[in-house]
C-alpha cells in the first residue's frame, strides 16, 4: 500500500490539513504506544451488505499490534451518533473515528470534529470540503460504480430477454451512478438492452425489495442487481425465480449458487489498514481519500459458474483497462432517458470526476424515473 494512489484534491489545503493532523496525533503518540479506533454502523454488522462490508474492514485491522477497535452498531442518524462518538472519545480513549453511514456527516460529525480538534474523524462518503470543513475531519470513498459497470457488462452478455433490472433504495447520486453504470455496461455489449429500475424508497425493507424483484422478473428481466443496505432478499428472491444476479456491497454468492454472476464489493480493509498504519506511526492522515479497482478499494466477486467465456473475456479486458486508470464510463455524447443531452460530445468523466457526484439523471436505456 503506497500513498501514491491516494487521490487528494486541493493539494494546497491538504498540506495545512497534514500539519493539523500531526499536531493532533503527536501528543497521543508520545503517551501511548497504541491507537484506539472507533467504528460506528447504522445497521447490524452482519447484514450481508453495507454494514458488513465495513465491519469486515474493521475486523482486518483488529489483529494489528497496537490497534484497539471499538464498534457500535445500529446507531441512528440523530444526535445519538454525536453521543456515541463522544462516548468513544471520552470513555474508550479513541483518537480516530470512522462513522460509516452517510447521514452521520452533517451536522453530527462536523460538530464533533469542531468540538474535539485533537481527534481525527474520517467519514465514508463524498462530503468533506477543504475550504469549509474542519481539518481533523475527512472523507473516504470507493468508485464502486466501476464495479457496477463490470456487473453490467457480464449482465449484458448473460441476458436473453435483453432486459436487466435494478432494485434501488432512493434516487440519490450514489445510487444513480450505480444504476447508470450498470445500464451503460449492459449497453456496451448490446445497445438494445434496457434496464428497469424500481425505487423502494427505503434502505432496508425486505418485503418491498422482494416485491420489486418479483415485479421486475414479471416484466421479463433476467439479470438483476441492486443498491439497498442488504442485498440478501433481492439475491435470494432472484435465485428463487431462476434468474441471474449481480451482487453488491459484499459477496452474496453463497445465497445464489446457480444464478450469481459476479458482484461489486467494497474492500474497506485497504482503507482502514492505511489509516491504522499511519495513525500508529504518528503520520498525518489524508483528508480526502478515493480509490477504485486499481487501488483495491473495491473488488469483484469471483465469477459464478454460469458466466460464459465471452462474458468473462469482455469483463476482464475492460477491468484491465480500468486498472490502468483514467477509464471513463460516462462520456459524451450521452443522453438521459428523456432524450436530453447530459454530457456533450468530447467530454469524458473518469471515475475521479467531481461532476459525477451530483448526478441527477438516468441514462438512455433505463426505464424508470426520478420522482
Amino acid at each position: 500500500m503506497s500513498s501514491s494512489h491516494l487521490i487528494t484534491r486541493r493539494t494546497l489545503l491538504a498540506g495545512a490539513a497534514g500539519t493539523a493532523a500531526m499536531a493532533g496525533l503527536a501528543p497521543r503518540a508520545a503517551h501511548a504506544a497504541g491507537v484506539t479506533i472507533g467504528f460506528i454502523y447504522v445497521g447490524p454488522k452482519d447484514d450481508y451488505g453495507y454494514n458488513q462490508a465495513h465491519a469486515e474492514g474493521a475486523a482486518a485491522i483488529k489483529s494489528m499490534p497496537g490497534i484497539t477497535v471499538v464498534e457500535e452498531e445500529r446507531v441512528p442518524e440523530t444526535d445519538d451518533v454525536e453521543k456515541t462518538m463522544e462516548s468513544m472519545i471520552q470513555l474508550d480513549g479513541a483518537s480516530l473515528l470512522f462513522p460509516t453511514s452517510f447521514g452521520y456527516f452533517d451536522p453530527y460529525m462536523l460538530r464533533m470534529a469542531r468540538k474535539y480538534p485533537k481527534i481525527q474523524f474520517r467519514h465514508c462518503g463524498g462530503l468533506w470540503k477543504a475550504d469549509k470543513d474542519p481539518m481533523n475531519a475527512g472523507s473516504y470513498f470507493g468508485y464502486i460504480g466501476m464495479g457496477q459497470y463490470l456487473n453490467g457488462i457480464v449482465a449484458g452478455h448473460m441476458t436473453k430477454s435483453k432486459k436487466v433490472a435494478f432494485v434501488a433504495a432512493k434516487p440519490i447520486p450514489q445510487v444513480l451512478i450505480n444504476i447508470n453504470s450498470f445500464a451503460l455496461g449492459a449497453r456496451s455489449v448490446d445497445p438494445s438492452i434496457t434496464t428497469r429500475v424500481i425505487f423502494t424508497g427505503d434502505w432496508s425493507m425486505a418485503v418491498k425489495e422482494a416485491e420489486a424483484t418479483n415485479s421486475l422478473v414479471d416484466q421479463g428481466a433476467d439479470v438483476i442487481t441492486c443498491h439497498v443496505d442488504s442485498p440478501k432478499v433481492v439475491v435470494q428472491t432472484a435465485e428463487h425465480r431462476g434468474i441471474y444476479t449481480c451482487g453488491y456491497h459484499a459477496n452474496q454468492a453463497p445465497l445464489a449458487p446457480k444464478g450469481y454472476l459476479t458482484g461489486a464489493e467494497w474492500h474497506w480493509a485497504t482503507v482502514y489498514k492505511m489509516f491504522a498504519t499511519k495513525a500508529l506511526a504518528g503520520e498525518p492522515l489524508p483528508n480526502f481519500v478515493r480509490g477504485g479497482l486499481a487501488q483495491d478499494f473495491i473488488k469483484m466477486s469471483p465469477y459464478g459458474p454460469a458466466v460464459t467465456p465471452a462474458a468473462r473475456a469482455n469483463a476482464d479486458a475492460v477491468k484491465a483497462e480500468i486498472m490502468k486508470g483514467g477509464y471513463a464510463v460516462f462520456k459524451g455524447p450521452l443522453k438521459d432517458n428523456t432524450g436530453k443531452q447530459v454530457i456533450p460530445a468530447g467530454t469524458a468523466y473518469p471515475e475521479t470526476a467531481i461532476q459525477l457526484e451530483s448526478m441527477n439523471y438516468l441514462v438512455e436505456g433505463v426505464v424508470g424515473a426520478i420522482a
Binding site: 452482519d46 425486505a206 418485503v207 425489495e209 416485491e211 418479483n214 415485479s215 414479471d218 440478501k232 420522482a371
Partner: protein, 304 residues
C-alpha cells in the same frame, strides 16, 4: 400485455404473496380481541416466530418443523402477554408494546447466527401449471401457508359461530359480567385466546422467513404485526372478512412497485401508504357516531 393488465397481474401476484402474514396476524389479533383483550405485542410474536422458524428449519432441515417452532415461539410470547394482563390493573395496550420490544429484542439477539446461513424453504404449490405465461405461472406459485391461513379463517369463523368454545370466547369478550354470571373462567379463556392468537402471528412470521421473502434478517418485518390491529377493525372482527382485508392490504402493497414498472413513478411513498388511507376511509364512512363499531367486542379496552 397492456399496462393495466400488467398492474392487475402484479396486484394479483402481490395479493397471494404479501397477504399471508397479514392474514395470520389479523386472525390471531381477531381471536385475541374477540375474547376482550388487545395485543399490540403480535408484532413481537411475528418477528420472534420468523426467527425461530428460520432457525429450526436450518437446524433440522425441515421447514414444516420450522413453522411449528414459529407458532410455539409466538404462542409462548402470547401466553406471557396474556398471563401478565391477567393481573389486575395491568394495561393491555402498554403491555403489548413492551412485549413487542421484548420479542423483537430476543429475536434479533438470538437470530444473529442465522443471518448468514440459508435455511430450507417451504415448497410452493404450482397452481399456474395451465398457463404458458411465465409471470402468471409464477404469480400462481402459492405457498401452502396461504391455504392454511384461509382454512384457519374458515375454522375460526365456524368456531365463533357454531361451537361452545367460540360462544364462550365471545361472551367473555362482549361482557365480563355476563360471563361471570354464567360461571365462565374469564381469565383462562382470555389467556388461551391470547396464546393461540400469538401462535397464529408466529406462523405469519414463519411465512416471512420461510416462504416470502424467505430470509431472516433484522429488517424482515415492516410492521405487519402492528398493522394487523388496523386490519382487524377493517374486517370488523369477522375472520372471513380478515381474508378480504389481508388480500386488499397485500394488493395495495404490490401497487407501488408495479406502478413503477409501467412508468408511473410519481409519489411512490403515497402509494405505499394506500392501505392505511383505505382503512381510514373505511372507518370514516362506515362508523356511525354515537354507537360502537358493529362487531366490536364490548370488553375491548380500546372500545371503552
Amino acid at each position: 400485455m397492456s399496462a393495466i393488465e400488467t398492474i392487475l397481474v402484479a396486484m394479483l401476484a402481490g395479493c397471494l404473496r404479501v397477504s399471508t402474514p397479514f392474514l395470520f396476524v389479523s386472525l390471531g389479533e381477531c381471536l385475541t380481541e374477540k375474547s376482550g383483550r388487545i395485543n399490540l405485542g403480535n408484532e413481537g410474536a411475528l418477528v420472534l416466530g420468523a426467527m425461530v422458524a428460520y432457525a429450526v428449519s436450518y437446524q433440522t432441515g425441515n421447514p414444516w418443523l420450522g413453522v411449528l417452532g414459529g407458532a410455539a415461539a409466538g404462542g409462548a410470547l402470547g401466553l406471557l402477554h396474556g398471563g401478565l394482563c391477567t393481573l389486575a390493573r395491568v394495561n393491555d395496550v402498554a403491555m403489548g408494546i413492551a412485549i413487542m420490544l421484548a420479542g423483537t429484542g430476543m429475536a434479533f439477539f438470538f437470530g444473529k447466527p442465522y443471518v448468514q446461513p440459508s435455511a430450507p424453504q417451504l415448497p410452493s404449490i404450482p397452481l399456474g401449471f395451465w398457463s404458458d405465461v411465465p409471470r402468471i405461472r409464477s404469480a400462481l406459485n402459492v405457498s401452502p401457508l396461504f391455504f392454511l391461513g384461509i382454512a384457519a379463517a374458515f375454522g375460526l369463523y365456524y368456531i365463533f359461530r357454531g361451537t361452545r368454545m367460540g360462544l364462550r370466547i365471545r361472551i367473555v369478550g362482549d361482557s365480563a359480567d355476563a360471563a361471570r354470571a354464567l360461571g365462565l373462567p374469564i381469565e383462562r379463556i382470555r389467556l388461551f385466546a391470547t396464546g393461540a392468537g400469538s401462535a397464529l402471528a408466529g406462523i405469519g412470521g414463519a411465512f416471512l422467513s420461510l416462504s416470502y421473502p424467505g430470509s431472516w434478517n433484522e429488517g424482515l418485518s415492516s410492521g405487519q404485526g402492528l398493522m394487523a390491529v388496523a386490519l382487524v377493525v377493517f374486517a370488523r372482527w369477522n375472520p372471513l372478512a380478515c381474508i378480504g382485508a389481508a388480500l386488499l392490504f397485500g394488493a395495495a402493497g404490490a401497487l407501488g412497485p408495479s406502478l413503477q414498472t409501467v412508468g408511473i413513478t410519481w409519489g411512490y411513498y403515497l402509494f405505499y401508504a394506500a392501505p392505511y388511507v383505505a382503512t381510514l376511509v373505511m372507518l370514516i364512512v362506515t362508523v356511525a357516531p354515537g354507537r360502537a363499531l358493529a362487531g366490536m367486542p364490548g370488553e375491548l379496552s380500546i372500545g371503552r
